[in-house]
Symmetry: none
């Protein structure tokens, strides 16, 4: 496999039951995915219920890494996909598992695929971090995928389309790792805060989400993010000179 | 849907646990399959453990028909597929789920897909009844699909290849007209000019080109461009207040 197109990390966001984490690991390994990341698992980690449910996929569980936030869990990832069963009122591209898999096989850089908690799925703020949404086309009258089923369908598609993908389009630079993008967003946030842009207070979360959406969309490279940070610094420097 | 290509019947052969029958029903209904047939379920039928595991897919369970033998269960079927994880020493065509689904959608007549018992899978005699074998391409070092997972992958493929199943992609807004983008770039240019960002003079054209490249890449919508112009105005307003 070309290391420019590494297998995606499966990120379980606030999973509740250890058993489901184990079943997800089993689902992953069936299709050759081994990298699991856990964001704030409800019952801590390791979880004694996970092992038996993994039915032998212990290596996946042993290698699982735990993070406090989605941002930290995806800090090194160039592409972040959020799985949701239903579309949210978010203006991001909505891909089928097939389309997402094709992208993962052809776009340079590490990918992360986010899966929400058993009951509630991904929070709006989790989805906001992602570049794209992945939705399994499902019976509109009966949409009831459990966590491991969602994972296995994505893993299956990744495996299925791996052989089909014909990558090596031009070697475009990959999008900057999520952490670099977050750094730029934080810089802009601080400047806008100081400029009194965020008001009224009750609109702040929605405004920040909208802004994040605009800045997440491009998939800027590290170089582009540096350019933009230079722009922001210049604009801020001006104020300092005048202030 | 064309009635010449009816949805396949899912045939569980000697299933052991009622819970797995329920989970299989749930898996089916997610992808629009409703016809379940049971061959000699170990614990009889109905099975009280099935309902809770079906998570609402009760209609599938209620409609399930019970048979003594695979031959009876498939008597009305023109096409019988046997799912096995590993290939058996049987001289039958081996299809991927994708190939089998394509056949089901294009070959006239009712299809049945056989799934074996949890532990043992299909017996050689069951496989012998089938026209073709369906094998999920799986990690050779870790092949551990449970019954409902095998069912959901087949059901997913059937739904995926039907074509109807493609999700209504969100109607994304088109990129803003070029003039709107130019307006934003001009606004930023002016601000950067004032901030002394463009220097030395001989680098100005290259710097402006780079910046334009970064801002053209996203294909922002009109709404997104308006948001960004608001951001720029806020940053500029701040300077005025201080200047």
């Amino acid at each position: 496999m070309n290391s420019s197109f590494p297998p995606p990390a499966i990120v379980l966001v606030r999973p509740q039951l250890g058993e489901n984490i184990g079943t997800a690991a089993r689902a992953m390994l069936n299709f050759g995915l081994t990298e699991m990341r856990l964001v704030a698992p409800r019952d801590g980690w390791p979880n004694p219920a996970a092992g038996p449910a993994a039915s032998g996929a212990d290596a996946v569980l042993d290698g699982a890494r735990v993070f406090d936030t989605v941002a930290e869990a995806t800090a090194d990832c160039a592409h972040v996909y959020a799985t949701t069963v239903r579309k949210r009122g978010v203006t991001k591209p909505v891909l089928t598992p097939e389309q997402a898999s094709a992208a993962i096989h052809t776009e340079v850089g590490k990918s992360a695929i986010l899966f929400g908690a058993e009951r509630s799925g991904l929070a709006t703020d989790d989805v906001a971090l992602a570049r794209s949404i992945v939705t399994v086309p499902i019976n509109p009258d009966f949409s009831s995928l459990n966590l491991a089923q969602a994972v296995i369908l994505i893993a299956y598609e990744w495996s299925r389309t791996r052989g089909l993908a014909s990558p090596t389009e031009t070697e475009l630079d990959p999008p900057a790792p999520q952490a670099e993008l977050e750094g730029m967003i934080a810089q802009l946030d601080a400047m806008l805060e100081a400029a009194g842009y965020f008001r009224p207070p009750e609109r702040i979360p929605a405004t920040k989400r909208a802004l994040r959406g605009v800045l997440t969309k491009p998939g800027w490279t590290s170089q582009e993010v540096r350019t933009l940070r230079g722009v922001l610094s210049a604009l801020k420097g001006r104020k300092r000179q005048r202030g």
